[in-house]
Homo-oligomer: 329 residues x 2
């Protein structure tokens, strides 16, 4: 079992959020009665708002992406648990400045239900919302059942693209929702897990894998994936992940992509670079070009070992929005 630095399991999520806001008070503010709502320290004006939400234990996802050029507010739940309805409402209220609010989050039942209830209640107050769900995890359902797929690291590209669009002069809520939807329609992710993490309140690992085993397609909360099998070499793994994603999203020679190689937590940068070495070579062979890649910890499961690969097929507008500067630690 992985050991943790904490005061008590019950306080883990709240104290992590407190510390994050105390570390970067020029960027983040805590609000909501529960303290589980993170907003920009300096609220934006005169633009469509963007709100996300989800469980704790995935930093910098979700709350870390609040900031100029990204999210306006985020509602956070306990470790691996969805945010409360009240917190979803508080986040939406904080993000609204008369132009409506995009709700942009992963395709999980609890999150969907609570955001839907919050949106419905706020409609009565005259706050207009649109919802776009990330369903980028190809390990969780087939292409035919794409809308059943879970949302994982691909959500970060949607934050970036929608966040940049929302700050363009004259952008409407529909514009922002449209580009977020387009980004996610073009985004696919596949993850692999090597070892589990421990949810503080549960106190034991979320799953077990034998010493020579890995699971392809496992979700970021330890949900079952495509298959378990022997630990593959980095090159074989990179080839399999890339092939799966290219086939799923019908990528072809001449296409251009954004690429993220994401550690689920414990897997070090060294190993992400070993994967990248093969991925870039395989992309070149396929005659697919790429922007400077994102390689690091973007969406984690605390100390889980493993990695995910995300590809977003680009058009000129997506590429240009992706290149817009943001303010984020």
């Amino acid at each position: 079992m992985m050991k943790k630095i904490l005061n008590s399991p019950e306080e883990y999520a709240d104290q992590a959020l407190q510390g994050m806001c105390q570390a970067f008070p020029h960027l983040y503010a805590q609000s909501g009665e529960s303290g589980r709502v993170i907003t920009r320290a300096i609220p934006a004006k005169d633009k469509p708002g963007i709100v996300s939400g989800g469980g704790s234990g995935h930093l910098p996802t979700f709350a870390g992406y609040v900031g100029p050029g990204l999210l306006d507010a985020c509602a956070v739940g306990n470790v691996f648990a969805g945010p409360a309805v009240m917190d979803c409402m508080a986040a939406i209220r904080a993000a609204d400045n008369g132009k409506g609010v995009l709700l942009l989050f992963g395709n999980y039942g609890g999150d969907k239900m609570n955001f839907a209830m919050a949106a419905e209640m706020l409609e009565a107050e005259g706050i207009r919302t649109r919802t776009v769900l990330a369903c980028d995890d190809v390990g969780s359902a087939s292409r035919d059942e794409r809308l059943k797929r879970r949302g994982v690291a691909g959500l970060i590209y949607a934050y970036k693209v929608a966040g940049a669009r929302a700050e363009q002069p004259g952008a409407t809520l529909d514009d922002v929702a449209e580009i977020a939807r387009r980004a996610l329609d073009n985004t696919v992710t596949l993850g692999v897990a090597l070892s589990p993490c421990t949810v503080p309140e549960a106190g034991k690992p979320t799953f077990t894998l034998a010493d020579n085993e890995m699971e392809i397609g496992m979700g970021i909360h330890g949900e079952p994936g495509i298959r378990r099998g022997p630990l593959l070499t980095a090159d074989t793994l990179a080839d399999e992940m890339l092939t799966t994603l290219c086939e799923d999203s019908a990528l072809e020679a001449g296409d251009r992509v954004a690429v993220m190689v994401n550690s689920l937590g414990a897997t070090p940068l060294e190993e992400l670079f070993i994967l990248w070495r093969r991925i870039q070579s395989a992309l070149r062979t396929r005659n697919i070009s790429w922007l400077p890649p994102q390689i690091g910890r973007y969406a984690t499961s605390m100390e889980m070992a493993g990695a995910s690969l995300t590809l977003m097929k680009l058009d000129d507008e997506l590429a240009s929005l992706l290149a817009t500067p943001v303010v984020s630690p």
Copy 2:
């Protein structure tokens, strides 16, 4: 044992460096016959050079800090092993453009010996060097024997300060060495380990700790620290680390510091923020002020679980150099 994504243990260090340079070719270039020398993609001109070096397995330390405002070149060894003399020489040659080269690295026997041999041989070619060692780890020797201390995360502050100074117009090698020395004289670090990492070629964990145990003061390669004991709460741990560092460096009310809360690898951001929550409160109680903190993975030991706290006491010049922008992924 923690599982790894790799092709073969023997290729781990080289393939990680290859992948890093392939990921950021606009920033990094591989050179040296061995490929174990990382230089800036666009070499600097007309300034004193800065070279560092050390083992693999600590990314972004050491090679990740090559770039504008930071290092000119870095010589890298195998996992947890010092760089070869030939690579130290190649790094120094690459960094020199007639104004001499500062050798800035951690206080480890192998690194010292190899850099000293390299410097001596290059002196014959007319390349002038100065050496400044990081000895910031208070867990490795007493204050009285400060020069026996190991170098750990505090080295990053020295990179930043010396890197900024070197790019100021007219800066000399002596100026850069002087400010690096001053930064390190004012910098102390204390680390704690919760669980080990595995060196790929060894294939087994570097040490063992019982399920309820931690080690205070353990080095980043698993070297023995101050004491082993039961797992402390985050607040107790933060208090003990801060008290040890404040006493060691005689920090007083009214002082101003830079602060880094660094994960050794597996420990997630959530837990660094839980530590920060207490650290910032304790700094406030002591009437010590701080710049925006560095909280993340700056100097790691692959997937080791644990964290380190670094404090650098600031004067106006150090604070100003620390605030100079850099280019780094």
